[in-house]
Symmetry: C2
Subunit: 149 residues, 2 copies
DNA sequence: TTTAGTGCAAACTCTTTGCAGCTAA
DNA sequence: TTAGCTGCAAAGAGTTTGCACTAAA
């Protein structure tokens, strides 16, 4: 699905096909969830040792520009990228201990956001909602074994 | 108020007082709202031309460590800092056209966030909610004069 | 006097860009 | 053949660190 769209987009922009890029794209969509450029490079290199980080960045930029990927800045240093499921929106629960990222969606929260925006005369085009804390597994660990890193 | 707390914190950590740092702190709390290190440097230099960016960074780090400031990463390149009003929490409406940042607080949204977290077994320690869009003034401009940027 | 504070320059991290060779169309 | 794709090295942007000097306590 994304494949066809991307192919069309590439043609429409006068760009060319490339197997290197195809592999990066394929890997990006296969690795579910959030990836950094470095992580994605690692995955891609399992199949093609010669790929460079530059190409990964360029491919992620292309995916972001054509709307197939979204760039996010969580607390960590670099940017994270994730596939943009068309029309679907979700927010994130981020565990500060193990780094796990869970996704959720809550229509009620979104309605309240709209209401807040209206009160201030704002028109929302997108939003970021990130809940940082401790996931179930880590808070279990903490209870059993309370020495923290 | 922050002054006294900071003074106490500095003493408790075996640090020393410094008029340079005092001026940065004072300026940081005077300039209401969000500031980047560069912006704060500009403000501080109005009174003291010899302050260095390094010292601003170090002071912001100190303020963040002792809990008097919070670091945020909005869409722009660098980090923003803002005073952390004790106990009070607020979220942000960010205009993508003019960069205005409005603050708001909504207890209902926060309750829903807690509910979502509970569902996933998460314990929230903090959260980020940023609504990006167009502010009242800019959407007015757009209507009157619809060429954008 | 000891040791934190400071500015400067250099280092560092993440990301982008310039360049020369490679390759799809 | 033309012009996009690629890796490498270098450049950028934001931030931190090493160092020598200054100045609180």
């Amino acid at each position: 699905m994304e494949r066809a769209f991307l192919k069309h987009y590439i043609k429409s922009q006068g760009l060319r096909q490339s197997s290197r890029r195809d592999r990066i794209v394929e890997t990006f969509f296969k690795v579910k969830g959030h990836t950094t450029a470095e992580e994605l490079l690692g995955q891609v290199r399992k199949k093609d040792k010669l790929v460079g980080l530059t190409t990964v960045y360029r491919t992620l930029k292309l995916l972001t520009q054509c709307g197939l990927a979204v760039e996010r800045k969580f607390d960590r240093k670099g940017a994270s990228f994730e596939p943009a499921q068309a029309g679907e929106h979700h927010d994130h629960l981020i565990c500060l201990e193990c780094g796990t990222i869970l996704e959720f969606e809550n229509k009620n929260i979104e309605s309240l956001q709209e209401a807040v925006a209206r009160e201030h005369g704002f028109i929302i085009s997108r939003h970021i909602l990130e809940l940082y804390g401790t996931c179930q597994e880590c808070s279990g660990k903490t209870r059993k074994n309370s020495k923290k890193k």
